[in-house]
Symmetry: D2
């Protein structure tokens, strides 16, 4: 987060142009004047609380209507367990991409993908990639691993105490499992990793979570484990926390990339040179030129893994299907690889070790999100694994389309046409970044 | 993305339980059977194209109604430049957090924050943090730097050619600037960084982008630069790409964290021990215990920077205000620091070097998103910098609230109560991760 | 590796000052003129081969004498299995630091540490830290984990083939273990981690290696595994490599930091405020101020872990004791933590997950290296684990001393005095970076 | 640094096999029994101090003779400014590799490379690579950038104070430069980068350091800057440190990799398929297969950059030539790239942004180290830049040789033969890792 001194100077000059340092300091100082009211009402929804909340922020009925439209008002109670201080809904446009043929362990068939985004060209680009893959017989997509963790941390007086604690805790594993699994029908404690750093111990409990994304499930299970530890441990920590920031929750981390968090999925496709020429207007060789330079571009910029823009597709699909969109921060890591085969075809694959999706729980039951899952045929029990495989296929589609566009020079043209509303734009030209 | 051999085995066992390897292989193979139709129509919206798209995916009128409600249908043309293959809108519930008092260079006053999320407890937790900060006189929030980049890559025959190219390109900087700035009213080319890796050269052009987030703006400007280079360079690259994946776009990268991408903002607050006790039911010392252990938890899990859960707040505010929510992948990095001062107060700060927000462009003009910006008083020209400062304040609120909850043992209680719909939940108890 | 365009320009200007671009290009071009002779003789040592090699490089008898002194000549045969094309020895001065009291699982007692370095102030600084720790009763040091890996990579045609291969390979684990362990008396195959990336599989075999550092041992064992796989695998890879760069050998990697490579060790000490004042001329509180700022300095510069300068001590001890000094690249990562306890003491700990040391094999048997191990009392069988604990204690000593020096303002003074040969320097003042 | 619970359990079981927890705890506890004497004498060397030091550690005259041989004793005064508590020298065998033809900006001609190592096969492998490059006309090697930094950190009360400080400090830049450059004849302050993190400011001063590696030089210059700041700053920090761990000194960091530290150098070579077949017994295509899989292996293990084993060659050359071998921790990062050209040749390049070498200062003046520099023809003033280019060429040689060996199956054979002392080993077969 460093800045060249010239940037810093010119930034400061701009700031001080219209005010002196004393004015600036005053502006930045805390102010103990009276505060406006807190937002009332918590999770409860009623016409009266809605009214009171809106009174706080605007008298602009048009704005209010845009958030609190008739349908939203009618469905307000649906949102009660998903948000507090409810005032309406934000509407994110959904475009349909596809079809995307997926030959997966769990996903099978041709999917139309509902993508929610406000970024022009995104749906067109992913749709182009999906159709290209489908023309080649579809992508193979496989769920390779699963697991979500919580990581309580325990502070002891010495590393010697840590050792004694770990001896005890590993002996208790079956009892910890019983406690954890008593809090959930679907969660299973499948592993435990142990980190000792000086006189600190972090226990990383890993769970499978059925069809739910599962972050809350593992929190409650781990809380139950911690209660048992607190009561029974022969060596008492000075303090402990149910999550000590070692689980990788909601952020890109080397740990989640190197191991797994959520679902690890891989998707691959094999495209003939003819198909690459016809649909992407370039060659497998040139796409590999791009891949090589961009993979090193990723390395040179210090990303986790190397890929183009997984976040675009994942955010759009997570959003449409009621996933926790904050998880895009952790999910958008992985490895894209393009090769030319001995037969001159383009082999393309993506591998994402950190997909966080569920087909139940979270926002998946809300009306419009549920409708999107139903478009996919992936609503409800038994569908989370297929959904993860579809995510991988979607990312593969996105990588193929954008790299194709960068290779043929269509990249910026699509933005120019779609984002600025020019006429004559067709789906096939589009791309996004 | 590695798995212990025991995990791998048991995962494979599960997969092979209901089918043998040949069945699996068949399932995973490409299939050249006929494909269903492509999604018709591109960016254009009309009743007829809407109808044709919906015919592809469902006959369930209820699902359709949930995406394509009356208001969405009436406002359909608004979405034409933001999405292709439009079929409706997904509705994300918005909760109001605050007030959050911000004493910024650009943001000044008390903000009610519209947060769009489907995750229970998130709004309650951020609201609690915002109110806490406000009781202490507000947070100081400062925009410290700005800039968005594009990074074309050029492949030459030798490092010698690279050197000759760089000599020429740096001499042309004024002309490149002219070309770039001819494509945009608001974008300014403010810097150029050069990377030579063997016979490859990456040019990282950095722009300021006015009140827009600016990714498209810098793409078009860079395309214009590349056209000039292609025409005039005395040494011709074997090939080049307008973006070679060195800009950090849409992914967490060490480069964006170490330098800046978008807007770098910092926010800080000073809380008395009394206030910490009253609102968070803990002490500054114990919050620093948590900070220390969790900062090292971040280090031990290999995150960029150290923080708790910026992604939660950023995704919710980006979504509500029409930002590109895929950018959460890059924005959710930074440093949280808590200290006890000599006077026994809690000093808390967050610094985020990669906030990608605009107050114009992208999704900011859509009806409900615009309404959220208006609730903030930050719609339209001249507001992007204040919006970035509000983001920093929001992240600070979230860190204080969640760490308070983890210190007092309220963390999982809030999830239990809010997510599972128990009675009697009040705003003050909540938290989220 | 990027450069600001101003730097690039001024660097290029300097280069072109004395020559033009054509001259430069000529200078940089390949030249097919006749080559001087290859270095003769391989691993063999005789007076005649020594003479022939020296004839190639110099007639300066003084220089030759400095490398090929009488003792070296007399001991020349000792070096035959440690180097090829032998011409003499480089002499690195050894200073003695300590005593360092270590209360370890394996190391017990007071150690005088032979440190080989050419950097002034290094030995003095580590010695000061060692003595400080010893005055406090010594450091607790514990070996927390062990393991060295090799990672062959296999390229298949599809991810489906990868799955079939992994099913087979995990079933063969016992046979693979038998093969591996048939090549070595001391190596044990203790784990296997599997990484599938598209149609590539990496198998990460982890071994314990007795008292040897073990890199060669695991190479030979893995080669034997690969021969078995090549012969018996039901699905044939397109190609494979015995090491596909996933083992972390000879470089800092998140993987080695997040898991373990070689030996993981932690050391801690508790120092009273009196002792800190007396020996370091500062306070525990101020050392924690430094720790906090420097830990974030590490985070802000993107290091693996957070620490000050482990490389200094490790390189000096590795060198003195015949370890592979290239492994400093991987070993110099970890976490330093300083805290003030409730009783006002300084708690200090270091944790290093990647110590690569042996007490047999490699250079440990060479005359002077063996003598250094004997000074430590750690030569030969059964001593490697203690040696790793001593490494941790040494790093702790170095962190305490340098941070003490930075806190009291002695940091640069020591350099000034020792490196420039001023009079009156005492051991106690010194530090190094 | 986490461990699977099974590993942790079995490790703990082993530890507790021969002793119980109480015995273990006693063993690990601090012990306040009397300490043996401190090492006497500081930097001073005399027969008497040598005698007193040796009395502390051994009566074994043979061991002593191996460290304190006649030549070392005769040259003892040479070591006075490079080490404290001197007791002798450790002898590291030096092998000669080459010739390596370098076509550089600064390095020109055919170099015989003295490499100090105790690892069998290393010299043979690098020598093979060097000869291969030379047969192809040599490598092009270019110094692309230079600079070494120190990073003092300043703690203020608020981010507002930080801003005021930075305004002042950037205005003082010329004065700071004057102060800095008054402490050194060779150092030049060439840039300043500024990092604000909450109420902390880090100033990263970047210097060029002439022919010295320069770490001490920049410390003294920065100390002088800090003294000026302390005296004149209008806003007084609560505390500051002359180095706050943001310079990247002695450790691999994303910052040093993304920007530059020391010297950035790149080397490249173009090899015909014939030469690859003749000398490496493989094809350019297969070497690119390895490169691709190993580059992703690096990515999958989370290294900075992607390469094979730079540390081996760098450690050996740094050691032989009196460089600070602890710097291998930072230097051994970079990017290796292999491609097949349109004409079927192998293009190979390495780029290292963090080479820390000098031709004066540090250990470069010691007798045997100086002799090694003279073998290279790179001793003394005006040679540091050429030495950095030679480092790049050496790393390229090592990458070519090891990848060749891994491709042809010679990798482990070389180890088997050389390390275990088998007959018939020739230089050409060897490799190392």
């Amino acid at each position: 987060m460093s800045a060249d001194h010239r940037h810093a100077s010119s930034h400061l000059d701009r700031l001080l142009r219209s005010r002196n340092q004393e004015q600036l300091s005053a502006q930045l100082a805390p102010k103990l004047t009276e505060l406006p009211p807190k937002v009332p009402g918590g999770a409860h929804v009623s016409e009266e609380t809605l009214e009171r909340r809106w009174q706080l922020v605007t008298r602009d009925l048009q704005g209010r209507e845009n958030l609190l439209d008739a349908q939203t008002l009618a469905q307000a109670e649906h949102y009660q367990h998903n948000v507090e201080n409810f005032i309406g809904t934000v509407k994110v446009p959904v475009g349909l991409a596809g079809p995307l043929r997926v030959n997966g362990l769990f996903a099978q068939g041709d999917y139309y993908l509902p993508l929610a985004t406000t970024e022009a060209a995104l749906v067109a680009s992913y749709s182009r990639g999906a159709q290209l893959i489908s023309e080649a017989g579809g992508c193979t997509a496989v769920l390779l691993n699963e697991g979500v963790s919580r990581a309580p941390g325990f502070a002891f007086r010495s590393v010697t105490e840590c050792g004694r604690f770990v001896v005890w805790a590993t002996e208790q594993l079956e009892e910890l499992r019983r406690r954890a699994e008593s809090t959930t029908r679907h969660g299973k404690l499948v592993d435990l990793r142990i980190t000792i750093e000086g006189n600190h111990v972090y226990l990383n409990f890993e769970f499978t979570t059925g069809d739910a994304s599962g972050q809350n499930m593992v929190t409650l299970a781990t809380e139950s484990i911690c209660a048992y530890i607190e009561e029974h441990s022969p060596v008492r920590p000075q303090y402990f926390f149910v999550e000590a920031n070692l689980s990788g929750d909601k952020k890109a981390s080397a740990q989640s990339f190197l191991l797994v968090r959520g679902k690890k999925v891989s998707a691959e496709a094999l495209l003939t040179a003819e198909l690459v020429a016809k649909r992407l207007h370039t060659t497998p060789e040139h796409m590999v030129n791009y891949w090589r330079m961009s993979a090193l571009g990723g390395v040179l910029s210090g990303t986790l893994g190397v890929h183009g823009h997984y976040a675009n597709g994942l955010a759009a699909l997570y959003l449409a299907t009621g996933q926790d969109v904050a998880c895009v921060a952790e999910s958008a890591v992985g490895v894209t690889r393009f090769e030319v085969t001995g037969a001159g075809e383009l082999y393309a694959c993506v591998t994402l070790p950190n997909i966080m999706v569920g087909s139940v729980g979270g926002g998946t039951g809300l009306p419009s999100q549920r409708a999107c899952l139903e478009i996919l045929g992936l609503a409800g029990t038994g569908k989370a694994q297929a959904l993860a495989e579809v995510c991988a296929g979607l990312c593969l589609a996105g990588e193929l389309s954008i790299i194709g566009a960068l290779c043929s020079g269509d990249f910026s043209r699509a933005h120019r046409l779609l984002a600025r509303g020019k006429k004559g734009t067709k789906t096939e030209t589009a791309t996004d970044a």
